[in-house]
Symmetry: C2
Subunit: 335 residues, 2 copies
């Protein structure tokens, strides 16, 4: 590991002042064409690259942002991360990745650590912080993008991005109804999840527009995993044996639901149709192939990064930003 040349080394070699080199490096005017070229060559030759840390200290922007997720090992967040990082890369930003492990203390300390690093913005996914703490935590940063988290009065420096879960649920119900199903159950996922709540809203709205009644016994909360879907479906089928369709919280839950149906002697989709959410790679691999709602999470990540840039570059004044991303139904075999 050899020592890096500094701007002073280049200036000395070129026989000019620091500022002249600085101007060349930053493509700023005020340097004669010949000196500019000479310095350019020297920079190339010596392998000089500006030290971002020193630069950040004076310009007060670090060209880096933080991405806080519950767990990068969940494909849902990994895809968002991929999109965010792509957009960041294209605009010269770097991304700090922090996992909260679904732990509030760790989320707080992640945010603290980002604050100390003087980053320009934060993309915060599925925050578990209570509203008031969230607002306080978030106000410290120049710009924040909140993904999948409702917030009542967002400060001016935050953008919110949400998947339109309600629309997704309505699309699913519509598809069931169009296929002649009328006893549609919901394996609803965790009661505490805001996206679960939005799907319940959409589910009820979908039933309403199809002139179907909402039956609370047709709704069962569950963990967002295969086991949860299995257990929820067993419960639903016990309470309402004539269920002919199940809308599941996500693909894993849907897979659990399909297995529970099959284990109870029902055929999918003949007896019971199942729709999942997320369109994970799994969906195309299991048999029957899963009909599911697809959301372009990579785009969501991109949009989050772009929202941060927008906030950073606008004259502080305009109101808070809110984006929604619409899912679309991918029809395969299960419904």
């Amino acid at each position: 590991m050899k020592k890096r040349p500094t701007i002073a080394d280049v200036a000395r070699a070129a026989g000019v002042s620091l500022m002249t080199v600085s101007r060349v490096v930053n493509d700023k005017p005020g340097v004669g064409e010949e000196t500019r070229q000479r310095i350019r060559d020297l920079v190339e030759e010596m392998g000089y690259r500006p030290n971002e840390i020193a630069r950040g200290l004076v310009t007060r922007q670090t060209l880096s942002i933080g991405l806080v997720v519950p767990d990068i090992a969940y494909p849902f967040f990994a895809q968002i991360a991929r999109g965010a990082e792509d957009a960041a890369f294209e605009t010269g930003y770097s991304v700090f990745l922090l996992n909260t492990a679904e732990n509030i203390e760790r989320e707080i300390s992640a945010l603290d650590s980002l604050h100390q690093k003087e980053i320009d913005g934060v993309i915060l996914c599925s925050s578990r912080l209570p509203s008031d703490e969230l607002v306080v935590a978030v106000e410290r940063f120049p710009a924040v993008a909140l993904i999948n988290r409702e917030i009542v009065a967002p400060p001016a420096n935050v953008a919110t991005l949400n998947v339109n879960d309600s629309l997704g649920a309505r699309l699913a119900i519509q598809h069931f109804v169009a296929g002649g199903r009328a006893r549609i159950a919901l394996a609803a996922g965790p009661a505490a999840s805001t996206s679960a709540q939005r799907r319940i809203d959409g589910y009820r709205a979908g039933l309403r527009s199809a002139h179907l009644d909402f039956d609370p016994e047709m709704l069962e909360f569950c963990t967002p995993y295969m086991e949860g879907g299995y257990a929820a479906t067993e419960a639903l089928l016990t309470r309402r044996p004539r269920v002919d369709a199940i809308f599941a919280f996500n693909d894993l839950v849907a897979i659990g639901a399909i297995q529970a149906c099959q284990d109870s002697g029902r055929r999918v989709p003949d007896d019971i149709a199942v729709i999942g959410v997320d369109d994970t790679p799994l969906a195309a691999m299991i048999r029957p192939r899963l009909t599911t709602l697809h959301t372009d999470l990579t785009s969501l990540g991109r949009q989050a990064m772009e929202a941060i840039l927008t906030i950073l570059n606008r004259d502080s004044g305009s109101g808070p930003l809110a984006y929604q991303l619409d899912p679309r139904l991918v029809v395969r075999e299960s419904a």
Copy 2:
């Protein structure tokens, strides 16, 4: 976004010099107990937190590392990332995430960007750089952990971490043989992949210890996806219809292989046994449940971070570090 207090603000409020505050903040000796406590209270009250950027400029360490992966959306890398970030978090480090999109130029520019950020170390996964360029690129950093990349003469500042693919392949072959299989084919994955090469070595070694001959017609390269496994299996079954076992490059390839077997009228595992690699969540979900090699990738990520710490803290001198991680066979239904 209110302005952060600096160390000078605290010093002024406390009526002491900057250094006294600095000493308190960094838990260094040389401050009386009462002043220390007074300053502690003030720090708390004013919400002072040291600016890591400024600190990094003088201490020459940024407490951050870079994690370079082909694509964080691949669960393989996401798991490594999770482990690395966990270990980093525990030791006070932050992690820059960079995707190369399997693109050499982007890998180079990712590394360049990290270099400008003066990070303390890099975890580089599955680098595509040619050996000579890799060495040059890597020598700029204080410490580097190379995951799944062989390198001939690793510089003293790099640790290498590899999955013991050869062992994995031998375990798979052993299991096949123990189950009475004797015509074992290999859906080998991409020919260019070093881990594919290591698995071929293990495959051949496994055959040898079972006194089975290696038949080049029983080996077929393929893309590392379901389609690749499907196509490779079709080819293998055409050339050698009596194949009774297939070792697949990864779980996706294995799933493709199973489908090709079934579509050709063969039962799994009765007629043909299949073993995959990676133990992705998929493996437990498909039917028949997939027998596969499990590697604790989260640990691998952890170890990479720990290797970097080791290199950073040792008196530069000792030789390069090399770690290997052994997979274990998870026996389910497909073999």
